[in-house]
Symmetry: C2
Subunit: 271 residues, 2 copies
């Protein structure tokens, strides 16, 4: 039986749009509600307790739109809040981007030496290291907090001398035996071309494609796929907790020109 | 009659500590309660409506500590929220850092050509330009949004190749007739040495000292100075809405080693 309800996706801001793009491509029959918590972004320097509280509020807000599943498209939130959100909304399927990102890294690495680039909070919590080592106990994981990457991506600065200097700052001296680098923050894929130059022949992976595949599997197991038929147009409803014009402007770097100002709705948690 | 109640000071995070340091020096008999809204920082890319709402919550939280005045030590908040906070807490004296910063700029400039470096929100609102032209109608004000400066200051990156590249990015091509540059964000004073090299002989001013003088005058007019006697030790009570250890660590770059972890109390708006 086809389930035509939308899938809820949330992030602290626009970074999760890189995941949304992969979901749209992988799940062509599905429609989505995307929430960016722009009133409180970024999450990456906040404590686990605060990020968990914010994530629970984002999930509760998405439930107002009758979502059939929730994808946590923010690595910082996914690294601490999946258990709490799952418990609060059981039996709704809840998926974070972290385990799919870890799976992508393990699949790409021959040496088992993997670097994770992420926010301060994600690295401090060690969740990527645990997820990677759960899949490959012999893996060696190097976590690198790269908070300025978020600021660069938010400002639309994705190439040029500043980006090159910041990339050198974080990646200089990276162990040459590391053969795979995980972009463990959904903001980072827009910096991939600049990172490519610094990372040489190493594989660069992110969570987007593997999260889409994992969500397809999860929906299938829950009998919750839309399965054919015509999805509504447009397929995404965009919500932001502050600054819809800025959300659209910055978001276009992540999602493309289809993200126009008039498509973003202002929402608040109190409603 | 001496009024020994504390003065409330708030900022989105640690930037306002540059103002607090000036207040401590200028008002040696006074004690303070400093609040950093670290759970929702930064304010600089958020909308006026959201910044006003957050500012009202910060002011209400400070009132729980029986403050006798409120200093808004965040330029973004001061640029939009002084009227609302003043009205909500009348007749309590409320002071923002913006007019004192504008006064410092007008006093320093011979040419009347002034640049303001600030957050995206402060520049977009035009409050500095209005405040400067209210004091000197012939002044020409150039506003430059420098959002990456906040990220650099928050990461403790105050010199080196990244800072130099970011400074060049924002300040290259600055009109040579501009003789005065206002640091219109309380995060920016820690970058002053790097800015000095780029700005040549131009005057660099910030709000800290003039805000302290203005607050002394305001308290005097309200008959609310502590006036002699021994202030309590320590003279500052530090509050943060998230991440007290991070607040102390980053805050030391702004305030010095006296800001130890155990001096910062976690608070929330609901309490």
């Amino acid at each position: 039986m086809a389930d035509r309800r939308p899938i809820g996706v949330f992030d602290s801001g626009v970074g999760g749009l890189t995941v949304l793009a992969a979901l749209l491509a992988r799940l062509p029959d599905e429609c989505f509600v995307y929430l960016g918590d722009t009133a409180r972004l970024p999450y990456g320097a906040k404590t686990p307790a605060t990020v968990e509280r914010y994530s629970l509020q984002c999930a509760a807000l998405l439930r107002r739109y009758d979502v059939k599943a929730i994808a946590i498209a923010c690595n910082t939130a996914a690294s601490v809040a999946v258990p709490a959100v799952t418990q609060a909304h059981a039996p709704l399927p809840v998926l974070g981007v972290l385990e799919p990102g870890a799976a992508a890294a393990v699949a790409a690495s021959a040496s088992g030496r993997i670097a994770v680039l992420a926010t301060e909070a994600t690295i401090a919590g060690g969740a990527y290291e645990r997820a990677i080592r759960a899949l490959d106990p012999r893996a060696t994981v190097t976590g690198l907090a790269c908070p300025l990457f978020v600021a660069l991506a938010e400002e639309g600065l994705t190439s040029g001398p500043i980006v090159d200097a910041v990339v050198r700052h974080y990646l200089e001296g990276l162990d040459p035996l590391i053969d795979t680098v995980v972009l463990g923050c959904t903001h980072f894929p827009v910096l991939a071309p600049a990172l490519r130059a610094a990372l040489g022949r190493r594989a660069i992976v992110d969570s987007a494609a593997t999260t889409a595949a994992a969500l397809a599997g999860l929906l299938s197991r829950h009998g919750a796929l839309a399965e054919g038929g015509e999805p509504p147009a447009p397929r995404v409803r965009f919500l932001a907790t502050d600054g819809v014009a800025r959300f659209a402007r910055v978001g276009r770097a992540f999602f493309g020109d289809a993200l126009t100002d008039d498509r973003v709705e202002l929402v608040d948690f109190a409603g």
